[in-house]
């Protein structure tokens, strides 16, 4: 299967990522007789949302009924004729004449793959949310807590505090409640007036009714169980010597303090743009989603023979990601041997459903705009966790003349640690944008060069790319 030959291996269609969009794309391509190669960083299919779905460690009563959809999608993928390669890190991608070249790291060895067509399904990450003390052990993201719940049925020993904005905060609170361990309180950072948006935008609210009712149900269940939901908060700190001990927050002008052993934070998700940026694709700032998105055309293509789908392209949720995965597969089929009448109808139907769902998404984006802007955070707030650089450090470099992200990086080492800027890139650009009074598009983001995933020198030495280049 995965012999480490010096010559490259070849795929007609390569898919990166086995979350909802990758699974849907691969399954649909297989149905049309094309056998895609699917590379995934994780050990099992499902991505983050359907993690561990093949051997669930928590009851559906806890994880929620949506998890069942993931089981069906993964089952269909397992039955499909697909070359599935888990535990495979794609650590570089580049365009070559006939398509793409990929460096794939598997079990400590790197191999080169060539693909004629490429579908990027690499997904999203949680929006980095810096506040004083967020680097303390005992502060984790709500997404991390969900990983622990899905992967091993793990719950916090002591009731945690949840903080942030957006649906995942309430979903996690509800899941913990179902498991018999509700949080002590939820600090909801969503400004009150944003909760009233559905009333002012009835058409979007109608399209979003499924999401809104689900959220309302979870919120009511938490209130009934006695979980305090605190609002009108405009500042937050985590305090502790070696681990989290207390949290402080400012509510309607008054500072309040609570003991805490575990603080789970979340302010939404953003596309992970390392792969798309390393390919040199154009990205544009999306004000509603407050993030950079790769530019795509109506067929979800970002370049010739290249599609970017799912939450790695724009946040739309798991169901939309599956739709986009299927749509990209249909585009590949169209360019390969054309579409039948049935396939064209399938495509048109999916496009209509997608348009409706994106209408609902606009309302959710507006309701859960990220709270507590970076330039409002105290100067001791760490922005780059890897290099331990604070907002004050970055501001100093900006006043010393750093005029853009690449200069800021060169001046401070911001973004040069092991996470390769994943945790600080967006906030560095936003800080520059506010200080220099330019739009995020004018500021841009620093350049991404391979490796886009962590790789050791030893692993690099096994790379057949190195051998190829040497000859």
């Amino acid at each position: 299967m995965s012999e480490n030959s010096t010559s490259s291996q070849v795929a007609e269609v390569a898919i990166i990522g086995a979350g909802p969009s990758g699974l849907a794309a691969a399954t649909r391509l297989a149905k049309a007789g094309l056998k895609p190669v699917v590379f995934d960083l994780n050990a099992a299919p499902g991505g983050q949302v359907y993690r561990q779905v093949e051997s669930p460690q928590a009851d559906l009563r806890v994880t929620g009924i949506d998890y069942r959809l993931g089981q069906r999608v993964v089952e269909a993928f397992r039955r499909a004729r697909v070359d599935y390669r888990p535990d495979s890190r794609v650590w570089w991608v580049q365009r070559v004449d006939a398509g793409f070249e990929l460096g794939v790291l598997h079990e400590g060895r790197s191999a080169v793959w060539r693909a004629r067509r490429l579908i990027l399904c690499h997904g999203a990450m949680e929006r980095p949310f810096p506040f004083p003390g967020w680097q303390l052990p005992g502060v984790m993201t709500a997404g991390a807590a969900q990983v622990l719940l899905k992967q091993g049925g793990l719950l916090p020993e002591d009731a945690p505090i949840l903080v942030g904005s957006g649906p995942l905060i309430y979903l996690l609170g509800w899941q913990y409640l179902q498991a018999g361990r509700p949080p002590t309180c939820i600090l909801d950072l969503t400004p009150r007036h944003q909760w009233r948006l559905p009333l002012r935008q009835p058409v979007k609210a109608w399209h979003a009714r499924g999401y809104l009712f689900k959220g309302l149900k979870m919120m009511l269940a938490l209130k009934r169980a006695g979980v305090a939901i605190e609002r009108d908060i405009d500042a937050l700190e985590a305090i502790g010597d070696k681990v989290l001990e207390q949290i402080r927050y400012r509510q309607r002008g008054h500072w309040k303090q609570r003991p805490a052993s575990l603080l789970l934070s979340h302010v939404g998700v953003v596309p992970e743009t390392h792969l798309t940026r390393s390919l040199g694709l154009t990205h544009r700032w999306h004000a509603e989603q407050q993030s950079f998105l790769p530019v795509r055309d109506d067929t979800l293509s970002a370049d010739e023979n290249l599609w970017v789908v799912g939450d790695g392209a724009a946040i739309g949720g798991a169901v939309n990601a599956m739709r986009e995965g299927t749509l990209s597969a249909l585009e590949v089929i169209a360019s390969h041997h054309g579409l039948t009448k049935e396939e064209r109808d399938e495509r048109d139907g999916l496009r209509r459903e997608r348009a409706r769902d994106l209408c609902a998404r606009q309302l959710l984006d507006a309701m859960f705009l990220p709270p507590l802007n970076i330039d409002a955070m105290p100067e001791e707030t760490i922005i780059c966790r890897c290099e331990a650089l604070t907002r004050g450090d970055l501001d100093q470099a900006i006043s010393d003349g750093a005029e853009g992200p690449n200069q800021l990086k060169a001046f401070t080492r911001c973004g040069m640690g092991p996470c390769q800027g994943r945790q600080c890139s967006l906030n560095a650009t936003l800080l520059l944008s506010r200080r220099l009074a330019q739009t995020p598009d004018q500021i841009g983001q620093w350049q991404i060069r391979p490796p886009v995933q962590t790789i050791t020198l030893g692993e690099l030495a096994t790379s057949s790319m190195v051998e190829n280049r040497a000859t």
Partner: protein, 105 residues
């Protein structure tokens, strides 16, 4: 610390993990970082180069704060490696780190 739900939905096979030389029984589906958060907690997980303690933040391969020594190899992303029976884990605290070049077998 985290603890396991009283009853899990499917198999709950366990493996033995050696954490800083101590044997620990952990769920076979867990990542190294998840197993540590269950058995060891987030205190004394890792000391950052600026001298501050750190522990996993994201658990999905982004933050790199879960770096840990696995079978003698330092700075592995603990959240992306699934536990295996007999795996040797060293938390990256100065006191627990093996001397460079010393045999770890």
């Amino acid at each position: 610390m985290f603890r396991r739900l009283p009853e899990t939905a499917s198999d709950s096979a366990e493996v033995t993990l050696w954490v800083d030389g101590e044997p620990r029984q952990v769920g076979a589906t867990l990542s190294v970082a998840a197993a540590l958060l269950q058995q060891h907690g987030w205190a004394e997980y890792r000391l950052h180069h600026d001298g501050t303690p750190r522990a996993p933040l994201c658990m999905m391969g982004v933050c790199h704060d879960c770096l840990i020594t696995i079978d003698g190899e330092p700075n592995r992303q603990g959240c992306l490696v699934i536990v295996k029976d007999g795996m040797r884990i060293e938390t990256q605290m100065p006191a627990a780190q093996p001397t460079p070049g010393a045999s770890t077998g």
